[in-house]
């Protein structure tokens, strides 16, 4: 059948996705897939919703982590595990499964471009400022940043303040809850709590460090975007998704030396697992058998170890199945830079977990991310204190949760 697949990535990742689509079409003749880029995860999701209401939606669609609960309750998707019961789903690492499975342990979506947060440095620049050891904690990062600044470096550390980076991944690895009820896993009546945890302190630190000139946000940089600023050599350190590894590596080629390591902790905190990030693929309802068959074929194709390895090599996204990890081991290229993020990422996701670090199961979470960004930006701009901003984000976030609860009154949490 002719099927369609929508995704939200751009840049090198988009190229890799298109390559996979082409490979699939080339590998068999029964199905033909058209892969449509929507520009971003958010747009992709809003387009999907609109399209679903208009009965105009594709059979396969990539949704990002933040949309998980909205989709689970949407009645718009079929759990992949229902469509593909024979797949060995427990091949997926726990960190990945935890985010996308029901309380009964059934996977809703097939993890696709899985990522997690990592710490990147421009070793060349660091060494110029006399820093030889890659920092591992925030304390060390700040120390290094001060040195860089003293050495005349304009942008020691950069982040974009994105909710995923500064709140979700931070809270997970520090073992902190974002919302009550174990981030919503135990009921729709959860409430946000992040404004009371160490995350709040960290965010206040970011504000202070930015004032000091140690941390720059995307819009503070010449490039206008934090990844671009790091890739261009403007900034010396950044926290970013494993998914942007290849882009950085390519940009650095022949100019700078790149290091990538686990995202930094505050001293005195035990390291926990990080959430799986990126996105996974859902099968949407309302399509005929032939299309579902095509969709299944494509999903099968994507799960193949060689496909996953190629995708990892091309992007930096982490293969989250055990067999692929083994395949990488066996390939003899395990230490090659193209798989640099794989083991690192999996390691990070496999760190010790608590009920608060399974994932996020909160309604209208995409909107909450917007609110969080909006509020923290106000704090960065000096309009209010970070604490006030977080309090207000919590308040607005709780309103979202209540409305979600009301909207899905009677619906049961899977």
């Amino acid at each position: 059948a002719n099927i369609e697949f929508w995704y939200g990535n751009t840049g090198v990742v988009e190229t890799a996705i298109q390559d996979q689509c082409a490979a699939f079409n080339a590998a068999q003749s029964e199905h033909h897939i058209t892969c449509v880029g929507q520009g971003s995860y958010e747009v992709s999701m809003q387009k999907a919703i609109a399209a679903f209401r208009a009965k105009n939606h594709p059979v396969l669609i990539q949704f990002f982590d933040a949309g998980t609960l909205d989709l689970m309750l949407s009645d718009a998707v079929v759990p992949v595990q229902d469509e593909l019961p024979d797949v060995k789903w427990d091949n997926y690492i726990t960190g990945a499964r935890a985010y996308y499975e029901t309380s009964g342990g059934k996977l809703f979506a097939q993890p696709y471009n899985a990522s997690t947060l990592l710490f990147y440095t421009n070793r060349t620049e660091l060494e110029k400022a006399g820093i030889t050891k890659t920092p591992e904690t925030w304390e060390e990062i700040i120390e290094a940043a001060r040195k860089l600044k003293a050495a005349g470096h304009a942008c020691p550390f950069t982040t974009d303040g994105d909710t995923w980076r500064v709140l979700e991944q931070f809270s997970a690895r520090h073992g902190l809850p974002i919302a009550s009820k174990h981030n919503g896993y135990d009921g729709l009546d959860a409430e946000y709590v992040f404004n009371t945890t160490v995350a709040a302190k960290h965010l206040q630190n970011l504000v202070d460090w930015r004032k000091e000139g140690l941390v720059k946000l995307g819009s503070d940089t010449k490039a206008g975007n934090f990844t671009a600023a790091f890739n261009a050599g403007e900034c010396a350190m950044m926290e970013n998704s494993s998914g942007s590894y290849t882009a950085s590596a390519k940009a650095f080629e022949g100019k700078f030396e790149l290091t990538v390591s686990l995202a930094p902790m505050y001293q005195g905190h035990e390291r926990h697992n990080t959430f799986v990030g990126g996105a996974s693929i859902y099968i949407m309802k309302g399509h005929d058998k032939a299309e579902i068959e095509g969709a299944k074929a494509f999903l099968d194709f994507l799960r193949r170890p060689e496909q996953q390895m190629a995708f990892t090599a091309a992007t930096g996204y982490v293969p989250v199945t055990n067999d692929v990890m083994e395949a990488i081991e066996k390939s003899g290229e395990a230490s090659s830079p193209k798989y640099a993020t794989a083991a690192l990422g999996i390691g990070s996701m496999n760190d010790p977990r608590t009920p608060d670090t399974r994932g996020i199961r909160l309604g209208f979470y995409v909107q909450f991310r917007q609110i969080f960004m909006e509020e923290t930006q106000k704090a960065f701009a000096g309009e209010k204190t970070m604490q006030a901003a977080l309090d207000s984000a919590k308040k607005r976030g709780d309103e979202l949760l209540r409305r979600f609860e009301q909207t899905y009154k009677g619906a049961k949490l899977h």
């Binding site: 958010e42 747009v43 809003q46 919703i49 609109a50 679903f52 209401r53 909205d70 949407s74 009645d75 718009a76 946000l217 995307g218 819009s219 503070d220 940089t221 010449k222 206008g224 209208f364 995409v366 909107q367 917007q370 960004m373 909006e374 509020e375 930006q377 106000k378 960065f380 701009a381 309009e383 607005r396 309103e399 409305r403 009301q406 909207t407 899905y408 009154k409």
Partner: protein, 296 residues
């Protein structure tokens, strides 16, 4: 219309003539409006498949949401500053171009050009031009670092929007106001000259009052124009940020509805905004329109 009864008296033909257009309007104008009001009393699920009557709850929610009021306030600020600049600047230009000077002909041509550049294109261009590091203000920033930071500072972002809005709004208002100025009879200037009013004074005493109808028209139309233009500019320049500082109501409705899948909330805001617009228009006609309706 002097003699109504000398018109064609066919019964079905006129109906047939307006029918296609009315159908389109009912379908794509009135039905959506009705739908918005309808949804504002329901709670819609994003993916459909369930909606629940909630009475005035949506209204309570929207009206007690400080974000809504802030966006409303920003909308008003944008309309007042943006619209008045987008009328005032063309007005000044039109008064200048109305004079018989060498530049007036090229000006009449060039000043219409932005009409051909889409709001979103303007946005893309201005976003680049006002970029703090590579744009026109970059030299200023290298002298006073951080003085121009539209990515962080809401006011700077707002200024960028207004500069772009005015740029794109010049042609239409300029043409209408210039036409108004040119329709002032020459004898009116001559009479004022005989009365001792010099050319500067005539601008205030004769030209401005006499183009009041055109000014009124531009103000009324500028209202809708500012809504349309604001959306394209916000979406291409600021995305409502930083920190929501450029989220006007139109943009908020769009993001709430499309990115936030909050169809009910967005519809409720739409409904409120519509009522506001209708009231504002009525007020404009009542308080301004009536006063400036003099014949010549």
């Amino acid at each position: 219309m002097t003699s109504e009864s000398s018109l064609f008296s066919h019964r079905w033909l006129p109906l047939f003539l307006v029918a296609p257009f009315m159908l389109l309007i009912v379908l794509f104008f009135y039905a959506p409006i009705f739908q918005a009001f309808y949804w504002s009393f329901f709670l819609e699920r994003p993916f459909g498949g369930g909606s629940m009557f909630v009475g005035s709850e949506n209204f309570v929610r929207v009206l007690s949401d400080s974000e809504f009021w802030e966006a409303g306030w920003r909308t008003i600020v944008f309309m007042i500053t943006g619209s008045s600049l987008a009328v005032l600047i063309p007005l000044i230009l039109a008064v200048a171009a109305d004079r018989k000077i060498r530049l007036s002909l090229p000006a009449r041509n060039v000043l219409v050009w932005p009409k051909g550049v889409a709001g979103a294109s303007i946005g893309v261009v201005f976003a680049f031009l006002f970029n703090p590091f590579v744009g026109v203000l970059a030299p200023l920033n290298s002298i006073f670092p951080g003085i121009w930071a539209p990515g962080i500072d809401g006011t700077d972002a707002f200024i960028t929007l207004i500069a772009a809005h005015v740029w794109g709004g010049i042609p239409f208002n300029f043409v209408i106001l210039l036409a108004g100025l040119q329709s002032i009879p020459r004898t009116m200037h001559q009479a004022a000259a005989m009365d001792g009013a010099g050319p500067w004074r005539r601008i205030l005493d004769v030209q401005l009052p006499l183009i009041a109808p055109q000014l009124f028209l531009t103000l009324v139309l500028e209202f809708t124009e500012s809504v349309t233009s604001a959306f394209a500019l916000i979406d291409t320049i600021t995305k409502g940020g930083p920190g929501g500082s450029t989220t006007l109501l139109v943009y908020k409705i769009y993001t709430d509805g499309f990115s936030g899948y909050d169809l009910s909330g967005a519809s409720t805001q739409t409904a409120i905004l519509m009522v506001f617009v209708v009231l504002l228009t009525a007020a404009q006609f009542l308080f301004l329109g009536r006063r400036i309706n003099y014949e010549r």
